[in-house]
C-alpha cells in the first residue's frame, strides 16, 4: 500500500514538472511571443490584444496557475490561428485517430513477432533464427519515413492495393476505415516488430532451458505445445513492458506516418501547429500525450502483479 502511494505521488510530481515545462515553452520563444505568432506586419492593437489573451501582462507564476486551473477544467485554451478553434476538441478528434493507429499497429506487430520469436527460439543460432535476427536488425535501421515511402512506391504506385492518402472514420464504415488505415498501420508496425521479436525470443530461449520445460518434453509433449502453453506466459514479462512503453510512445510518435499519409491524428496536429507557431495547441498536445504515457506506465506496473504472482506477494 505504501509503495502504491509513493508511486502515485511520483506520478503527480512528474505531471507537475511536465506541465511546468510545457507552460514555460512560451517564455523560451525568442523576442515577443505576440510578434513571433502574428508576424511582423500587424497593427500595435493586434499585438496588444494577443498579449492580453496570452496573459503576458500578468506575472509568470500567476499565469501558470490560471492556465493550470483551466487545464483541470478540461479547457486547454483556443487555437492561436484562425478559425481559433477550441484546443480540447481539436485534440479530442485527433486523439481518436492516433489511438486507433497505435492499437492496430501493435496488434499487427504482435501477430507477426510472436510466431517469429517462437520460430527463432526453437533452435537458437539455427538457420531460421539467424535469418530472422538479420532481418529484424536490418528493419531496425530503416526510419519510418523511408519504409513508408518504399511501401507507397511498392503497394500504392505499382500494385495499386491501397489508397495513397486520406482517412475515413470508423463511423463511416469499418471496412473503409480499415482499408485506409492499413498502410499506415503496417508502416508503424514495422517499427515495433524488431524490438518485440528480439525481446520475446531472448526470454523464450531462457525459459526453454528451465526444468519444467525439460519435464514437459520428457513426458512427450510436442514442441509447439510446450512453446505456446508452457513457455510463452513466463516469457512474456519483458514483452509486456516493451508493449506498454510502445503504446505510450506511439501516441506521439506516429507523427511521421500521419504526415506521410495525411491522417488527421495527434502527430499531424502537432506538426502543422509547430510550423504555424501555434503554441497553445502544442502545449495541450504535449500535456495530453505525457498524461497518457504516465498513466499507461502505471497500468503496466499494475499488470505485472496480475500476471506474475511472485511480485504480488512481495508488494503486499
Amino acid at each position: 500500500m505504501k509503495a502504491a502511494a509513493g508511486k502515485v505521488a511520483q506520478l503527480l510530481v512528474v505531471m507537475f514538472l511536465v506541465s511546468l515545462g510545457t507552460f514555460s515553452l512560451t517564455s523560451l520563444m525568442p523576442g515577443d511571443p505576440a510578434v513571433a505568432i502574428l508576424g511582423d506586419n500587424q497593427s500595435p492593437e493586434a499585438y496588444a490584444e494577443l498579449r492580453d489573451k496570452l496573459g503576458l501582462n500578468e506575472p509568470l507564476v500567476e499565469r501558470y496557475f490560471t492556465w493550470l486551473g483551466h487545464v483541470f477544467q478540461g479547457d486547454l485554451g483556443t487555437s492561436m490561428v484562425p478559425p481559433n478553434e477550441d484546443v480540447t476538441s481539436l485534440i479530442g478528434s485527433a486523439f481518436a485517430v492516433s489511438i486507433e493507429l497505435a492499437v492496430l499497429a501493435l496488434v499487427v506487430a504482435l501477430v507477426v513477432s510472436i510466431p517469429l520469436a517462437m520460430i527463432s527460439a526453437r533452435r537458437p543460432d539455427g538457420l531460421l533464427d539467424r535469418a530472422a535476427s538479420a532481418t529484424t536488425f536490418g528493419i531496425m535501421s530503416v526510419p519510418s519515413f523511408v519504409s513508408g515511402l518504399v511501401l507507397i512506391a511498392l503497394l500504392v504506385n505499382q500494385l495499386h492495393l491501397f489508397p495513397r492518402v486520406g482517412w475515413v472514420g470508423v463511423t463511416d464504415g469499418l471496412g473503409q476505415n480499415l482499408y485506409h488505415a492499413a498502410l499506415p498501420v503496417i508502416t508503424i508496425a514495422l517499427l515495433e516488430i524488431p524490438t518485440f521479436t528480439r525481446v520475446l525470443r531472448g526470454d523464450l530461449v531462457r525459459t526453454l532451458q528451465e526444468d519444467f520445460v525439460l519435464s514437459a518434453r520428457a513426458k512427450g509433449m510436442p514442441a509447439w505445445r510446450i512453446m505456446i502453453f508452457d513457455a510463452f506466459r513466463p516469457s512474456s514479462y519483458s514483452l509486456i513492458t516493451v508493449l506498454g512503453l510502445s503504446l505510450a510512445q506511439l501516441i506521439g510518435s506516429t507523427v511521421i506516418v500521419e504526415t506521410l499519409f495525411s491522417l488527421p491524428g495527434m502527430g499531424r496536429l502537432v506538426v502543422s501547429s509547430a510550423s504555424q507557431g501555434n503554441i497553445t495547441v502544442i502545449q495541450g498536445a504535449v500535456l495530453v500525450i505525457a498524461a497518457c504515457y504516465v498513466l499507461i506506465n502505471a497500468g503496466v506496473d499494475l499488470m505485472y502483479s496480475v500476471i506474475d504472482p511472485r511480485i504480488r506477494r512481495v508488494g503486499a
Binding site: L28, F145, A248, I251, T259, V270, A274, I279, V286, Y293
Partner: protein, 294 residues
C-alpha cells in the same frame, strides 16, 4: 568459459560464421570512415554546387544517377548535385548528432554517476527528472522545442541531447551502483578522497567507458531524429541540405517521376544508421563477454 562449450556443440558452423560477421563489421566501419572523412574534407573535395541554385541555372535538372557523368548521383529540381548535397548533409547530420550525444553523455553521465553514488534524496530528485523527460515522446519534445527555438545547428544539438539524457542517466546510474562497490572506490575513500574526486576521477572514467556502445546507438537514433525533423519541414531548412529535407523533396508526387530524389538519400541514411547500430551491437556483445569471463 562459454566459448569452448559452443564450439563443442557446433564445431563446423562457428568459424565460418565468425568470418562473415567480421566482414560485415569491417564494411560498416569502412562506410562510416569514408563518410566522416568526406564530411570533414567536403570544402576541399572540389564538389559541385550543393546549395546555391543561382549557380546551377545551366545544369540539368532531375538528372538520374549515372556514375560516369559530372553528377554521379544525379541532380535535384534546381540542378543541384546530389552527391555534393549528400556529403554536405552528412556534415550537418554527423556534427549535430555526435555533438548532441557528447553533450547528452556528459550531462546525463554526470547526473547518473552522482545519483548512483550519493543515492538518497539526490537520487530521487534525479530519478523524477529522468521520468519527466521520458514522459514526453522524443519526437514530440523535439517538435515542441522547434516551435519556439530558431532552427540552427546549435539549438538542434541542444534539443537532441535532451533525448539522449534520460537513457544515459539510467544506464550510468545502474553502472555506478556496481562500480561503487568495487575495491578501488573503497581504497580512494580510505585515502581520504572527497566526493567530487571519487565521482569525477574514479567513477566517471570507468562508467563512461562502459556506455560507449550505447553512445553509438544514440548517434544513429539521433541521426534519424534529426532527419525526421527536417523531413517534416521543422528542422534545418533548405537551401541547407540535410538527408531528411532531401528525402522530403521527393514528396508531393515527385517521387513517382524521379525516384532517385528519395532513394539516394534514403539509402545513405539507411547505411549510416545500420553501420552505427551494428558497431554498437558488436561492441556491446564483446563487452558482455568480457564481463562474463572476469
Amino acid at each position: 568459459m562459454s566459448a569452448p562449450e559452443t564450439a563443442a556443440l557446433a564445431p563446423t558452423a562457428r568459424p565460418g560464421r565468425r568470418r562473415r560477421i567480421d566482414l560485415l563489421l569491417w564494411l560498416c566501419g569502412a562506410w562510416l570512415a569514408v563518410l566522416i572523412l568526406a564530411a570533414i574534407t567536403a570544402p576541399v573535395l572540389g564538389l559541385q554546387e550543393a546549395q546555391d541554385a543561382a549557380k546551377t541555372l545551366l545544369e540539368p535538372v532531375y538528372q538520374p544517377p549515372s556514375l560516369g557523368s559530372a553528377h554521379p548521383l544525379g541532380t535535384n529540381a534546381l540542378g543541384l548535385d546530389m552527391l555534393s548535397r549528400i556529403i554536405y548533409g552528412a556534415r550537418v547530420s554527423m556534427a549535430v548528432s555526435i555533438s548532441a550525444v557528447l553533450i547528452g553523455t556528459f550531462v546525463g553521465g554526470t547526473l547518473g554517476v552522482v545519483a548512483g553514488y550519493l543515492r538518497g534524496t539526490v537520487d530521487r530528485i534525479i530519478g523524477t527528472l529522468t521520468n519527466t523527460l521520458l514522459a514526453v515522446p522524443a519526437l514530440i519534445l523535439l517538435i515542441a522545442l522547434a516551435t519556439v527555438l530558431r532552427p540552427s545547428a546549435l539549438n538542434m544539438a541542444l534539443a537532441l541531447s535532451l533525448v539522449a539524457i534520460p537513457g544515459m542517466i539510467r544506464v550510468t546510474r545502474a553502472n555506478t551502483l556496481a562500480f561503487a562497490q568495487r575495491e578501488f572506490v573503497t581504497v580512494a575513500q580510505a585515502l581520504g578522497a572527497g566526493r567530487a574526486r571519487i565521482v569525477f576521477r574514479e567513477l566517471m572514467p570507468n562508467v563512461l567507458l562502459s556506455v560507449v556502445p550505447l553512445c553509438l546507438v544514440y548517434v544513429s537514433a539521433l541521426i534519424v531524429a534529426e532527419a525526421s525533423l527536417s523531413f517534416l519541414g521543422i528542422g534545418l531548412r533548405p537551401p541547407q541540405p540535410t538527408w531528411g529535407n532531401m528525402i522530403g523533396e521527393g514528396l508531393n508526387g515527385k517521387m513517382e517521376d524521379y525516384p532517385h530524389l528519395v532513394y539516394v538519400p534514403a539509402a545513405v541514411l539507411f547505411l549510416t544508421v545500420f553501420s552505427f547500430n551494428l558497431l554498437g551491437e558488436r561492441m556491446r556483445k564483446r563487452w558482455d563477454k568480457r564481463e562474463v569471463s572476469l
